[in-house]
Amino acid sequence: MLYQLSWTILFAPLLAFAVIIFGTRVWDLRSRPKVALPAAEHGHGEHHTDDHDTHAVTDEHGHGGHSEQDEDDDPHVPQLSAGAKASAYAALVIMALACIYSWVLLFSTVLHPADLAAAGKEVFAYNWLSVGGLNYIVGFHLDRLGIAMMVVVTTITFLVQFYSQGYMENSAGYARFYAYLSLFAFSMLVIVFAENFLVIFCGWELVGLSSYLLIGFWINKRAKPEEQRPSPASANLQAFIMNRIGDVGFILGIMILFVNTGSFDFIAVQHGVVHMDKTLLGIAMILVFCGAMGKSAQFPLHTWLPSAMEGPTPVSALIHAATMVAAGVYMIARTSPLFATAAPFAWEVVASIGAFTAFFAATIALVQSDFKRVLAFSTISQLGYMFVGLGVAGPEYGVGPGMFHLFTHAFFKALLFLGAGSVLHGLHHAMHKEVQDVRLMGGLASKMPITAATWLIAVLAISGFPGFSGFYSKEEIIGLALEQGHPVIYALTLATAGLTAFYMLRAFILAFGGKGGKFMGLWGGPYRGYGEVKESPLYMTIPLMLLVIPSVLAGYWTGFYQYVNVSAENVANLSIPALFQATDTWIGVIVSLVGLGFAWFLYGRVDLVKINQVVQSNAALRTIHRILFNRYYVDDLYNWIVKYVVLGLAALAQAFDRYIVDGIVNGVASGVTGTGSGIRRLETGRVQSYMIGFFGGVAVLAVVFVVLITTVWK
């Protein structure tokens, strides 16, 4: 019963979405004063999706110092209406209940593993449609993998929603924001609960939608070319289309599986593929992996994630760090039996792309000056780790290592993003403009101690500092890569570990510390911006503090491996003692420590300006810096391709259509009219020329007739 009713978790956020969109949001909008313009009439009844509201109808001028542009960028209301607040509460209460329920499920399955069969349990299903012998079923099921993911999703969603009360204060789209967040939670849970490829694909697209809506939350915000920041409206477009590119691969993979097995159901497909050609299955799985590459921003489909940082920061924390981007990993874990059946190159592709992306993104993160973008690349890099974990684990370790890193990463990365949000929020209040450049920060630790402390813990966790959660999950993956005989991948992941430690501490020191701060520049120091920065309100710091707990402790739950179906004897190899005994673990730790130490040494002791001068004066460093800073010019390449190749082809097709296809049509038409007006000239109006025609015709016919009579018809 406990498990059977778990579909309520799935539909709870949908309920919240509906309540907000049809209820409290309408209330919110109706209670707003109507000024100047004939305000937007929001009809009653059903609008079935998102709702881009009118922000600026209500007044902005209460906020002194807000320019017109600011109003467009982030429209505010003087104070939140009751309807807006009710929206937040509705979302929060529902999400809290869902969160508690999912924790209950987690504990009960941990304590009584026998209650829920390993294969899981169908909790809700209906026949979407069936034609001939083919059934397209919308089915949701619950298993331990799902529960683990569900806990992550509901917990972080709840914390983010709680946090947003502070971050989104006075935002004109407050209610809309909560509606989107709820919609996202629902979509994400669809993926989690999915029982077959059809449903997971639906969830896949729906999270794409929520991501699209949330990235573009500030609908009129401008692009900032000087900071290489696109407008949200471009960023969400890019995100959606990049994901779609991956989805094409995904759906092609699904189609190969479907036509060979006649089903979408994971279990049925699993049984069906046994007879399938292994190479074809491998290709199918790589295509499925394409979907994961899009969603999890793996090279070469990674460029959307840094752009997606244009969304509100809580959104970045929830969607573009902790949950949605990890959906790719979850999906690969979900389909891992199919990968295991396929030819081995399928796993190798996954691991290689993961490893390459991890390293690739880490190098870019080294030099980024945008606070959130550093985190974005670190997310890409960590997701690469997860794929490595899945790819190298092999059948004996299964999805455990990859999923475990997903689990721990979700908490500390959410913490990092929420902390970053706290910083940005503080700076926005201090400088009355949006600041994300670390060069305008510095020494914030003394001004925002809670944020700084929690952030530091998260940095240590992501760097793999022994004792923090990231250490356990990440070193396990690095170790496995070596153990399973992938030296190149091992080398890449190991190097990445060092880079990660370096750039994360660099970001920390640039924001919170600096030359002259305590502990050799780690804590406090000169502030390079202006205005009075204050610690964020409790709404925002409480989630930070709460997230510290799993960021540290999550790593100690090594029962996770067994929980997500790794056989018992192999779990022994993955236990904490085994980890501490392995040599490669300590190699990894040393690399991380070197990275941390180097960053501390460099940025804690040397002025930022000076570092910059050194880099700029050295030709080699300068070139490397420029390449890295421009993210290997991949974005420019894509822009170029879109602008000249895609649009060029489109323009070519258009020209073909207009001048050839339509040209033929119009040509035929003007040919007919032209012939007509040409023939018209034969009409001289003179009787005698007609007579010539007539009698000439008669003569010709007569002659022909005579010839025929004398020859043919004789």
């Binding site: 009844g45 209906y126 026949n127 401008r222 471009s234 094409v248 895609v646 296809v661």
Partner: protein, 538 residues
């Protein structure tokens, strides 16, 4: 009179009566004309729904029958004369089944919504009357089951459409004449061009099969071959090609598609809605109803080419959308792209396939063919409602701003949040977002045609990217991004205009989330068709 005792007659007759009724009310009562139109179109809708529920009640959701087992029909002799030994008979034969009834309901619904949408048109009496006449003609097309009666209705529909585009269309000069005139003529002549071939095909069919009655024809498929100019061609293929040209023009299939963007850009909003919503479906409907049922052999021979043309339609249409500067033209080309999916579904259902996947499965190939054809039929319905909604949205923008040029807008969601929402919703539905109607059909067609036509389907799937790109890019440039101060005065959508949008949005969501009822209705009628077709091909 038996003819008036059948509701199907009234489905055609009510709009005609409405059109007459509009002229009966004195000219100065414009509102009365509007209400008359609304009442009669609503009555038509009610009757259509009544027929639906009658069949549902009598025979259940899976009992929507087929040609041999029509759930509701009327068949009366109409024209009957003998010239020498040749008998020429035409029947007044109307009937609905699971294939045509959704189209009938769609037509009734969209006409009703168009009447609401066109409430403020100038010269409103004539406009409403013509809309109703158009409805009557299209109804006839969807219900006629006698090939000559069908042909008659096919032509009847042209006249009101021609006038609607030609009189209320846009005045932008094209090729030296006002666009509305150019487009109306292009539409008319292009359709006539196709009709000529269709008539030839029907006559050929009639003299080979000896009947114009669909139920008889579907039992006695023509066979054999004939020689034209020394080339021997199977009769099935010949008649198929002749009849298909008319449908290809209407669908519209590359390279016969260029009338569509012109007609759409120059037609008034409601006419665009009906054009995309139901008139294009006439072609697709005819393809399944006539070509698939009567010439499975010909269609099967042609299926490979059809699959290729479908892919061209899908990708080429989508690519052109990327560089459109006019919102309506963009949506028009997106129709070309989406109608390609129907062609792909039909090609998959009839084709021999390229035989990459031959493994025996539960249901086998037949199930995939059936899914493809059902998906194609569903696409007719869902494309109708989605594109209808998109056109309504563009119409609202156009009525306020008097332009559809994408480039001169920017960020207007700030002033038109409700419209922005609904437009985004419609775009999402159009690009195949799960949970909305567009996805169901697309997913069905792609997943099942993959088994039959693998390579074309792989190519066609890339439309997912292009569709998302052009629609969302358009939305972005119009509604999001930097706000263009020029549009500060724009009011949001009015309540009246919301009615059609909400109605369609509700339908889109319902079909997207729970398509099973509609699918059951459709597939109960398609199953016999495809079974007999497959038997014939083998």
């Amino acid at each position: 009179m038996a003819i008036f005792g059948n509701w199907l007659t009234w489905i055609i007759l009510l709009p005609v009566l409405g059109a007459i009724g509009i002229y009966v009310v004195p000219k100065r009562y414009e509102n009365a004309a509007r209400w008359t139109a609304l009442v009669f179109s609503a009555a038509t809708f009610v009757v259509a729904m009544g027929v639906f529920f009658y069949i549902l009640h009598a025979r259940g959701i899976n009992g929507f029958g087929s040609l041999n087992d029509l759930p509701y029909a009327i068949n009366l002799p109409w024209i009957n004369f003998a010239a020498g030994t040749t008998h020429f008979t035409v029947h007044y034969f109307l009937g609905v089944d699971g294939l045509s009834l959704p189209m009938v309901i769609l037509n009734a619904l969209l006409t009703m919504l168009s009447v609401i949408g066109g409430w403020k048109k100038k010269n409103v009496r004539a406009y409403m009357a013509l809309l109703l006449l158009l409805e009557a003609g299209v109804m006839g097309v969807f219900m006629a089951l006698d090939i000559f009666f069908f042909f008659l209705m096919w032509e009847v529909e042209l006249a009101p459409m021609f006038i609607l585009i030609g009189v209320w269309g846009s005045d932008v000069v094209k090729h030296g004449v006002p666009g509305r005139v150019y487009s109306a003529w292009k539409f008319l002549l292009y359709t006539f061009f196709g009709s000529v071939f269709m008539l030839a095909g029907f006559i050929l069919l009639y003299f080979h099969a000896g009947s114009s009655d669909m139920t008889v024809l579907s039992h006695h498929l023509i066979g054999g071959s004939t020689t034209i100019l020394g080339v021997s061609i199977s009769l099935q293929l010949l008649t198929f090609l002749l009849v298909f040209i008319a449908f290809a023009v209407k669908i519209p299939m590359f390279p016969f598609h260029t009338w569509l963007p012109d007609a759409h850009t120059d037609a008034p909003t409601e006419v665009s809605v009906l054009l995309a919503g139901v008139l294009l479906k006439m072609g697709a409907y005819g393809l399944i109803r006539f070509c698939f049922t009567l010439f499975p052999g010909g269609l099967s021979q042609f299926a490979g080419v059809l699959a290729v043309l479908a892919v061209i339609n899908i990708l080429y249409g989508a690519a052109i959308c990327l560089v459109q500067t006019d919102m309506k033209k963009l949506i028009a080309y997106s129709s070309v792209s989406h109608m390609g999916i129907i062609l792909l579904g039909v090609a998959a259902a009839a084709g021999g396939g390229n035989g990459f996947f031959t493994g025996a499965l539960a249901g086998g190939d037949l199930a995939f063919r059936q899914a493809a054809l059902t998906g194609a039929t569903l696409q007719m319905f869902s494309h109708g409602i989605i594109t209808g909604m998109l056109f309504f949205c563009v119409g609202v923008v156009y009525d306020l701003a008097h332009t559809r040029e994408i480039a001169i807008f920017g960020g207007i969601a700030k002033r038109m949040p409700m419209l922005g929402t609904l437009f985004t919703f419609a775009a999402m539905a159009s690009l195949g977002l799960p949970g909305l109607a567009g996805f169901v059909a697309e997913y069905m067609v792609f997943t099942s045609s993959f088994r039959v036509w693998t390579i074309p389907t792989i190519l066609a799937v890339f439309t997912m990217i292009l569709t998302a790109a052009y629609l969302l890019w358009m939305i972005k440039r119009v509604f999001f991004g930097t706000f263009n101060k020029k549009w500060d005065w724009l009011p949001d959508i009015s309540k009246r205009e919301l009615i059609p949008l909400f109605a369609l949005a509700g339908l889109i969501v319902f079909v997207g989330i729970y398509p099973a009822p509609l699918i059951n209705v459709i597939s109960s009628s398609l199953t016999p068709i495809i079974q007999s077709a497959v038997t014939f091909i083998k």
